[in-house]
Structure formats: C-alpha cells, structure tokens
Amino acid sequence: MTDLAAPAGRPRGRFAGSRHGLLALGGVLVGGVVLAALFANWIAPYSPYELNVAAMLQGPSAAHWLGTDELGRDVLSRTIFAARISVEVALVAVGVGLLGGTVIGIVAAYFGGMLDMLLMRLMELLFSFPAILLAVILMASLGTSILNAMIAIGIIFIPGFSRLARAATQAVLRQQYVDAARTIGMSDARILGREILPNVVTPLLVEAAVAFAYAVLLESALSFLGLGAQPPEPSWGNMLNTGRGFMAQAPWLGIVPGMAMFLCVLGFNLLGDGLRDFFDPHLRD
C-alpha cells in the first residue's frame, strides 16, 4: 500500500527528509553565525584590533589558527567580530525593508485606486535600479557610515517586500472573513491589524530570511568598496579587499572572510528555502 499511497510525480517521504535536512543545515549555519556575533568577545582568541608587528602575514599556526594579516592581527578573531557587523547590518536592513515594505504593500492593496497606483509606481522606480548601484547612490547621498549602510540596504529591500505584501493582501481581501469583519463593525485600522496582517505575515517572514542573505552580501560589497564598515572595524567585505592585495603571499587573508561570507549566505538561503517549503501547504505532509 505504501508505494500506492504517494501519487506518481509527487515524490514524498525520501525527499521530505532531505528537505528538512537542508533546513536543519541552514539552521546550524545561521545559528553559528549568530552565536559568533553575539559572543564574539568570549569566543575570539585575540582582540580584533590588536597589532602585532612581530607576527605579520603569518600562515595558520597553533597560536593563530587562521593566520595573521598585514598588521599582525589575528584573522580568526577579526572574522568572528566581522560576523557581528554583518548580522547587525542585516538585521536592521531587513527590519527597515520588512516594516516599510509591509506597510506600503498592505496600505496600497487595501485602499487601492490612486494611492495604490502611486505607491506601486514609486516602488517600481526603486526596483528599476540595480541593487548595488542604488546602494552606492544612497551611500553617496547619506554619507559613509555603517548606520547609513543599514538604511541604504533597507531601502533597497522595500520594493520587494511591498510587492509581496500587496499580493498577499489582495488575496486575503478576497476572503469572506474580511467582509464578515465589516459586518461586525470593524474599522479599517482594526481590519488591517487583526484580519489582514496575521494572514500575510508568513510569506513575508520567509522572504525576510532570504533577504538576510542578500543583506549580508550587500553589506560586504559596500564595505569592500569602502562605503560600509570603516577600518580598523573588521568586516568581511573590507577584509576581503585587504586580502585581494596579498592573494599571492597570504591567500588566507582573502579565503577566510570569503568562506565565512559563503557559509553565512548559504545558511540563510537554505533556511529561507526550508521555511518556504515548511509553510507551503502543498508541500506539507
């Protein structure tokens, strides 16, 4: 009976297991990055700023597991502290994007008409710029600082979240329980908060996990270009930029932050995909 139970073309069981396996792997990777960020002070063996002229550009050793950089600073410690910057920036940026996008999307869909048209054209205007170009433009006008990087990346996320929120809201608005809410005398504000928001929040949270990965990449890109975290503050982006110059003598300078970034982004993507599958009623067993 078991082989008949699963309809052809919709393999379950075996694949369901691996799907949850990927979700778990994503969780572990993300968990590692977040723990590193939270407890950097305790985990890192050295201070990320401590210069050691006696030990410049040393390869991995017992004292410095991942070697030292051109100023003798411990690469492992700097990579761990850089996780803190990445997570902070990603958290604030995704927060800005999620909040702004959700409000704009829900309001546009709920009130419709001219307001919807105006808001969505504005979102398309933002969307039409390549993300990194928009980030650079925003940073140029806001000024170079890590806070401005957070805001700039957040603004880039607003159009995506707003479209998602708008589409989800339009679907909810077609549901009878919204009409029923009106029959008991609910105000627009209450309908938005009680009937619509709780019913659109799932896809937005899934999108947030994926946006997190992108935020980490964008922050690194900005820092690489010298627009984000400023030296001596460690960031995967500016460490990578430094490593670029020493690729021949000390490849670990570039490889270590690069790997950290890769694992972090992979983790958030797996987590996002896993969550999407988890919440998708069609895939749920």
Binding site: Q176, D179, A180, R182, T183, G185, R194, P198
Partner: protein, 344 residues
C-alpha cells in the same frame, strides 16, 4: 401539490405571534438599488418595501440574482463598490440608515444589527481562536478588555449549545464542524443583543440534520432575546418551518407578501404557485422534478409591465402594464392582475 406544503406549514410549532408593534425594528420603504456598469444602469432592487417587527422572523425568498442579498447588504450599509441605494429609505427602529455617516453605520453594525453569513467557515478568520472572534464585538463596541471579551465569548458559545465552550473557545475555525462554525457565527452575532439579525442563507452549507438544529436555535433566539430576524433564503421548506411572514422577491421586486400560512395555502402570484409546485416533498411522490421554464430577466433589461409575464402560464393583455400589489386577503397581497376585482 400545494396541499402537501400546506400540511407542512400548519404542522410547525405555531409561535406566539407578536402583536403588531407600533414601530417595526426594520422598515424598508421603496428601496431601489442600482448598479452603474459599462452596459448601463442595472436596477437590482426596485421599490422594495418590507417590515420586520420585534420578535418576528420574516422570510425573504427568491432565486439567485433576485436581489435578496443586495437587500441584506443594504441594511448593513455594505453594498459592494459601484452599487448604490438610488431611492427609498431603510429605517432601524425609526433611525434612517441610508443617510447615515460611515462611522455611525459602523457603530451600528455588530451592535444593533448583526449578520449571519452563508458560509461560516469562510467568514471566520483562520488564524485567530474562535473565542477571540466571538468576543471581538465587545471590544469594538463596548471597549471591554480582551480578557472580559473572551470570558463573555465562552458564555455566548454555551448559549448556542456548544459543548465544552471553555475549551472550544481556544480552538481555531478549522477544528470546528460546519454546524459548530455556524453556531459560533450566531454567537458572535448575538454578542451585543442586536435588535435585528440578518441571516443570509445561513443553513445552505449545512447538511439536513445540522440545518434543523440551527433553525431551532434561531427560533430559540427569537423567543429568548426577542430579536427580529430577517431570514434570506431560496428554500421554501425553511420558510414554512421557521418564518412568521414571508416576502417573495422576483427580479428585484416583491411579488407576494403575507403570513406564511396564507401565502402557502393560497399563493396569489403565479410565481409563488410555480415555486410551491417546484418544491419536491416527501409526501408527494413526484415522478418528475417540476421546474419553471425560462429564466429570471436580467436587471439590465427588465420587461415593461409584469416581470414574470414571460414565464407565466396565465399571461393576458393586462400584463403589459405593471401590476400593483393587490390584496388576496387581509395582510396578504400579490403583484398580479389576476387578483384585480372583477377579473375571472
């Protein structure tokens, strides 16, 4: 075949008929509802007049597209976009709802008037526990705390005979059966003891035994709360079982009105007669299902004269002009020239 309906109608537990009250709970007068669309102005409801007195259950019966749901929505001030009240008045205990501001209407909805919807599952928010939803009118209209509202919800759920209401209040809509969902909606509607309940085919989605329980509950509500109920349906059996008076609506206009017994025993309008013939019953072994030939006319191109003329077996010259409501007996009228004194 009418005789079988008659027995059905007279068999029901005759409720104590409320003495004609001076002020009806709901008074609709000459209500005209229009929809302005690309293909012109459609008249969805035409000069409809009806009355629901306190403690009375009034049936509004008609087929799909006859305008019965629009009438119900207009009472709540919730007509869809593009549909408007073009003329007439709707009064709730003498307060006109037609010219009322949006905010005032909102204050009345859920408080003085409640609606019981057709499909309870789809009318409940899937992500909130039942108790919160049933208690919500308390929070909206009485400014009570959530805690008090949830306690009240448990009480209300007990009032509609839900077992283990404390536990049920914490459950979500999908955990309820169809009948329980409809009970929950009725409990929500009753939350603030409204003067008027508008029930829009509340039993259509339910199976027969559950339907009977819900109807019993509605009758009980009328008896204990004294609420007036406007019951919208296409089911003659339910009207016979539940209602005191009935209005038959056809193509947006009332074609017959009167006490249920009177209308069912001596239907004055050929449409009502046809409806009664078309209703299969257990008592009559019908070898063939009777249907009324033709279709309800489009609200965009209503015929001049009698709206039912095209489908009417008794059509004659007089039907080219629109008949007024003519008396069949005291308190019973139908919109048909056959009733004109001196005819036949």
């Amino acid at each position: 075949m009418t005789s079988s309906i008659r027995t059905f109608a007279t068999e029901r537990a005759a409720p104590a008929r409320a003495a004609p009250a001076p002020t009806p709970t709901l008074a609709i007068e000459g209500l005209t509802i229009e929809h302005a669309g690309r293909r012109g102005i459609a008249c969805l409801v035409d000069r409809l007049t009806l009355e629901v007195r306190p403690g009375e259950i009034v049936g509004l019966i008609g087929e799909s597209g006859s305008g019965k749901t629009m009438t119900a929505l207009s009472v709540l001030g919730l007509l869809p976009r593009g549909v408007r009240v073009a003329d007439g008045d709707i009064r709730l205990s003498e307060r006109s709802l037609v010219r009322m501001s949006a905010a005032d209407l909102r204050a009345i909805r859920g408080d003085r008037v409640a609606m019981i919807p057709q499909d309870a599952l789809r009318a409940l928010n899937p992500v909130l526990p039942i108790g919160e939803q049933v208690g919500e009118p308390q929070v909206i209209h009485r400014g009570s705390s959530w805690q008090a509202a949830k306690a009240k919800a448990v009480e209300l759920l007990r009032g509609v005979h839900l077992r283990a209401p404390e536990q049920r209040a914490r459950e979500y809509p999908h955990q309820f059966s169809g009948g329980m969902q409809q009970r929950a909606m009725i409990a929500m509607g009753l939350a603030l003891e409204p003067e008027l309940l508008v029930a829009d085919e509340p039993t259509t989605a339910l199976d027969a035994t559950v339907q009977a329980q819900v109807l019993k509950l509605l009758r009980e509500i009328r008896d204990t709360h004294g609420a007036a109920i406007l019951f919208i349906t296409h089911d003659l059996g339910i009207v016979a079982e539940l209602c005191d008076r009935v209005y038959v609506i056809y193509a947006g206009a009332i074609v017959e009105q009167g006490a249920v017994e009177a209308v069912f025993t001596r239907p004055g309008h050929p449409y009502t007669q046809a409806l009664l013939r078309a209703t299969p019953t257990v008592r009559t072994v019908q070898t063939e299902l009777v249907s009324i030939r033709g279709h309800i006319p489009s609200p965009l191109e209503l015929p001049r004269g009698c709206r039912f003329a095209d489908r009417c077996p008794h059509r004659f010259e007089r039907c080219a002009s629109e008949p007024p409501l003519l008396e069949v007996a005291a308190g019973h009228a139908a919109r048909c020239w056959l009733l004109e004194p001196g005819h036949g």
